[in-house]
C-alpha cells in the first residue's frame, strides 16, 4: 500500500473546525469580564457596583446627630420603636446638606396617624387602634396627642 493521503474533504473540515474553535476560545478570553469568577460564577465587580448605589433613607442614628432632643423625647414614650423617616420621609439628602431647603423633610409626617392606628380587624390585638369616627370628630390627631410622645397632651 502506498502513502496514506488525507482526503481533501477531511483536511478542509479539520482546518475549518480548528479555525472556528480557535476563534471561539479567543473570543472567550477577550469577552469574559475581568472580575468574573472572583467569588463565584459572576462578576466580582458587581458586588462593588451594587454596594455603591445612592442612599435615600438616612437611618435613625443619622437623625440623632442634630435632632437629639426629639430623639430623647421619642425614646421615653411608646413611639420609641418608630424610625424618624417612617413618618417624616427619606432624609439622606437632608442629612448630606441640612441647609438645602428643597430636600428638608416636612414637620408633618408623610404618613398620617391613621395609617397605623385606624382600626382594622386584620391588625394584631396588642396594637393600639381607634375608629376615627367614634374616637374624635375634630380636625387633627395632634389636637390631643404629641406624636413624639403620644400620651402627652400638647
Amino acid at each position: 500500500m502506498g502513502v496514506f493521503k488525507m482526503p481533501p474533504q477531511i483536511v478542509r473540515l479539520v482546518l475549518l473546525t480548528v479555525a472556528i474553535v480557535g476563534s471561539y476560545l479567543m473570543a472567550r478570553t477577550v469577552l469574559t469580564p475581568p472580575s468574573f469568577r472572583q467569588y463565584g460564577w459572576y462578576r466580582g465587580e458587581a458586588l462593588v457596583e451594587l454596594a455603591s448605589r445612592q442612599i435615600v433613607f438616612a437611618g435613625k442614628p443619622a437623625c440623632e446627630i442634630c435632632h437629639d432632643e426629639e430623639f430623647r423625647k421619642l425614646a421615653k414614650g411608646s413611639h420609641k420603636g418608630l424610625s424618624c423617616e417612617g413618618c417624616h420621609g427619606p432624609s439622606q439628602a437632608h442629612s448630606d446638606d441640612p441647609d438645602d431647603l428643597a430636600v428638608r423633610p416636612k414637620k408633618e409626617p408623610f404618613s398620617t396617624c391613621t395609617r397605623c392606628h385606624e382600626f382594622n380587624v386584620s391588625r394584631p390585638k396588642w396594637h393600639k387602634q381607634i375608629v376615627t369616627r367614634t374616637h374624635y370628630t375634630g380636625d387633627k390627631c395632634t389636637d390631643c396627642h404629641v406624636p413624639h410622645s403620644p400620651t402627652e397632651v400638647p
Binding site: 462578576r43 448605589r53 445612592q54 435615600v56 433613607f57 420603636g81 427619606p90 382594622n120 391588625r123
Partner: protein, 270 residues
C-alpha cells in the same frame, strides 16, 4: 486552484495575529483597573463580603399592614411605580368562620394584596363578624440556601453573594426571565426600564455601610428583624427572634431551604 500565497506569508500573518493577541491581556487588565477606579469612588471601604452573613426574619404577630415598608423600598431602590413591580409586598389573609352546621374547622380563605399593600389595607371584603383569623404577611426574597433562581441563570448574572444576599448584576443580565420563572415565591420581576430581572437585594448598598435595609428601618412595630449571623451576639434582635419563636419557612417541600423564617405563620400562607 493553485494558491499564490506563499508559506512565508502565512507564517508572517500568523505571527502578527499572535503579537496582537499578546497585548490583549494587558489591555484587559488596564481596562479593568480604570473601571474599578470609577466605581469604587462611592464603594464602602473595607467591606469584606466573606465576613458577614446577612439574614432577615419576619414576625407575623407584629405586622400591622401599614405598608410603609413597601413604599420605603420603592423609594430607596427606585423601583418602578407600577402595580406589578415589587421587591417586597404585604399580603392579607382573612380566614372566615365556618358555616354553622357544616362540621368544617374553618371557612373560606381570602388573600389579597392591593397594590402590594403599599397604601395599607382599608376595607374588609367580608363583614368583621365573619372573620375567624386575619393577619398580614410581608413577603420578599426568601434568601434560599439552594436558590433555584441562581441555578437557572444561563450567564451568571444572578448569584448568591458570600454574605447571604441573592443579587442580580444588571450590567450582565440578558433579560431572559428564567430566574423569574424559577422563583417559587414570586419575588422577582422584570424591570421594564432596565429590561433586566430585579428583586430584593436586602438593600445591599445600605447593609454594606452598617445601615439597615429600608423596610427594616421604617417598620414601626419591628415586624422585620435583620441581623448579621456571623457577628451577632446573643442579645442581638435576630438571635432573640430565633430564641423566642418557633418558625416556619415557605414551601419547604421544594428543597430551596429558605433562610427567611416566619414567626406566627398559618398553614394557609403560600
Amino acid at each position: 486552484m493553485k494558491s499564490e500565497i506563499s508559506r512565508r506569508d502565512i507564517l508572517g500573518g500568523l505571527g502578527a495575529v499572535m503579537a496582537g493577541l499578546a497585548t490583549l491581556p494587558l489591555a484587559r487588565t488596564a481596562k479593568a483597573a480604570v473601571q474599578k477606579l470609577a466605581v469604587s469612588a462611592n464603594a464602602p471601604k473595607g467591606y469584606d463580603p466573606t465576613q458577614h452573613r446577612w439574614v432577615m426574619g419576619i414576625d407575623i404577630n407584629r405586622c400591622i399592614g401599614c405598608g410603609i415598608c413597601v413604599e420605603a423600598c420603592k423609594t430607596e431602590n427606585h423601583v418602578p411605580m407600577g402595580r406589578n413591580y415589587f421587591r417586597t409586598w404585604i399580603e392579607r389573609y382573612i380566614i372566615t368562620k365556618p358555616k354553622p352546621g357544616t362540621g368544617a374547622a374553618r371557612g373560606e380563605v381570602l388573600v389579597e394584596s392591593p397594590d402590594g399593600g403599599m397604601h395599607g389595607f382599608s376595607d374588609l371584603p367580608v363583614p368583621a363578624a365573619d372573620v375567624l383569623h386575619s393577619f398580614f404577611v410581608p413577603k420578599l426574597c426568601n434568601l434560599c440556601e439552594h436558590s433555584p433562581c441562581v441555578q437557572v441563570c444561563p450567564v451568571g448574572a444572578t448569584f448568591d453573594a458570600p454574605d447571604g444576599a441573592v443579587l442580580i448584576d444588571p450590567e450582565y443580565c440578558i433579560g431572559c426571565g428564567f430566574c423569574i420563572q424559577a422563583c417559587p415565591y414570586g419575588c422577582r420581576f422584570l424591570n421594564p426600564f432596565t429590561r433586566t430581572a430585579e428583586k430584593c437585594t436586602l438593600c445591599y448598598h445600605r447593609i454594606t455601610r452598617g445601615l439597615k435595609p429600608a423596610c427594616v428601618e421604617v417598620c414601626p412595630t419591628q415586624a422585620r428583624i435583620f441581623g448579621d449571623l456571623k457577628n451577632a451576639p446573643p442579645e442581638d434582635p435576630i438571635r432573640q427572634f430565633y430564641q423566642d419563636n418557633r418558625v416556619q419557612a415557605l414551601k419547604p417541600f421544594l428543597g430551596t431551604d429558605p433562610r427567611l423564617f416566619y414567626a406566627g405563620m398559618d398553614k394557609e400562607v403560600r
